[in-house]
């Protein structure tokens, strides 16, 4: 992500040209609270009630216009099920600018689990990470076991953005990500990947080969 950021660095800002940044957003929460559904609703405006888990999508991207001239590309990382047995890799949290922690408003246990994910983020993620708490499944409000006030109160004490969403109807899903994107601070200077060391772009150096030859008998 650093290369995109440096590409849209401070020179652009000074000259008033539009900037475009890429931010990493990670999703967390208990299984079956609707993490993948929220992303699918947001990035593709689709909802599939019977979808079991995400296969084949490493992460989904969505461009958001922050204002008249500036845009943000959100790279949204799904847990790919690795949260189920508490087997998320440290790589997942690393360098995430923002996180969405999801619970199911009809499952009080998932709200408790969300609180422990937030503690995990505070331990593992970047200290300045922006976190949003999302109480999902407002379409099932008649079966609600976590009140909106309860969610909002916890979010307020922990300093989180808070939304109640429905991946099914789309309620508040866009608002959630847009508010999150707007709250991420923009780097004033291009972010160098590391002091003095040279980064190596392996994928770019090989794209020519890969295009010419689709199979690799390694």
């Amino acid at each position: 992500m650093a290369e995109h950021q440096s590409g849209a660095g401070s020179a652009a800002q000074k000259s008033g040209r539009p900037r475009k940044l890429v931010f990493k957003v990670v999703l967390l929460g208990e299984s079956a609270v609707g993490k993948s559904s929220i992303v699918t609703r947001f990035t593709r405006d689709e909802f599939n009630q019977y979808k079991e888990s995400t296969i084949g999508a490493a992460f989904l991207t969505k461009e958001i216009a922050i204002d008249a001239s500036n845009t943000v590309n959100l790279n949204i990382w799904d847990t790919a099920g690795q949260e189920r047995y508490k087997s998320l890799a440290p790589m997942y949290y690393r360098n995430a600018e923002a996180a969405v922690v999801v619970y199911d408003i009809t499952q009080a246990a998932s709200f408790e689990r969300a609180k422990s994910w937030i503690k995990e983020l505070q331990r593992q993620a970047e200290p300045n990470i922006i976190i949003a708490l999302a109480g999902n499944k407002t379409d099932l409000a008649d079966r609600r076991t976590v009140s909106k006030e309860e969610g909002a109160a916890y979010a307020a004490t922990a300093g989180l953005l808070f939304f109640e969403t429905s991946a099914q109807s789309g309620e508040n899903v866009g608002e959630l990500f847009v508010s999150l994107a707007k709250k991420i601070p923009w780097p004033a200077e291009p972010v160098a990947s590391a002091a003095g060391a040279q980064s190596v772009n392996l994928a770019a150096g090989r794209s020519g080969n890969a295009a010419a030859q689709n199979d690799c008998a390694c």
């Binding site: 099920g81 890799a89 440290p90 689709n214």
Partner: protein, 442 residues
Amino acid sequence: MDEEYDVIILGTGLTECMLSGILAVEGKKVLHIDRNDFYGGECASLNLTQLYQRFRPGTTPPTELGRDRDYNIDLIPKFLMEGEGLVKVLVYTDVIRYLEFNAIATSMVLCQGSIYKVPSTAAEALSSSLVGLMQKPRARTFFNFLKNWNQDDPKTHEGLDLNRDSMAKVYAYFSLNEDTQEFIGHAMALHLDDKYKERPARETCDRVIMYANSAARAMEGKRDSPYIYPLYGLGDLPQAFARLSAVYAGTFMLNTPVDEIVCADDGSFAGVRSGDQVARAKIVIGDPSYFQDRVRKTGRVIRAICLLRSPIPSAKADSAQIILPQRQTGREHDIYITCLSEAQKICPKGCWIASVSTIAETTGDAKNEIAAALKLLGPIEQIFVSDSDVFEPLADGTKNSVFVSRSYDATSHFETVYEDVKDLYRRITGKDLVLQKRQPTA
């Protein structure tokens, strides 16, 4: 976990995670278990607490070392080169998108008590004092021979058969002396000892060509060494392949003890038991630590992780490799030093982590075997020495569907790991590994 899978994989080392990702992408239903609560097995990158737990159980890291999360210390030190097989797999599986690579600042070699920069190109080699004056034209002829070699054109072979003639014969043909041979065999082909000279020359020539290609790419990028390294440590490699596997529906269970490998009456694999749960599958893949009765010991590797407060005096850089060829230390095997720092995001500012590794030759104090390397490091604040057995499987697994990987060896690169992955894949599926280029999804 009480379910039926196609494959159960035990241990989250790089070999296991690569196979996990490759098989999941092919549509296999994978269950992947590790007894540890972290990824990477024997090739994990550890934080401070994990490092102290492993090497000094019952003690906690001194507070002056700083925050736990700022450390990602490799248990097994290795570097990558752009031209090597593992990098191809990273690109073809698109796993590369999870990783960020930096160049290693400098590559050096010990020669007659002094440390020299390893020339990164043939041209540089010919101007380096490592290759003697009289040897330069001969070395040039040898490098040109490799450059022009075309398997299908016998005119380029100069009467040599690389598949049959030994490397010693090739050296003799080009009249290359011991010093030049050492440079080619140890600093470029990265052989650990001199046994390669008696093996067919093909292996060494391929490695020199791979080195030269990687070095040429590094030159294009204005980098000083052909070595590259993933930010946050080598432990990110297995993590990235694990994510690929999970994205293709692989199930991951860390912190899960493996209590029994369940076999059918005919000895073939049936399942894995953890506590009172049994997961069933057609085959199992795992590292030697899960199959202690199905492996044999082939040797020992000594590794020392050293925390420094300043860079290695002879290599004042954010990162370095120093090779101590066996002849230079009076040993049979080379000693490798790697040094990394904050620039690779493996430790905080003001800290350098040097790793020393070699194949054990005596049963005495491990530190004595690497003394020649340790004295090059300058003041050492903390040192963690390991002396690990290296295992290989007793059987190839095709009879009972139990496929055991090899331990990580003392080489400074990933070619042997990649060879093991290809070999296991062939034994498991009966076909050669052919990687399909994945279309980027985003």
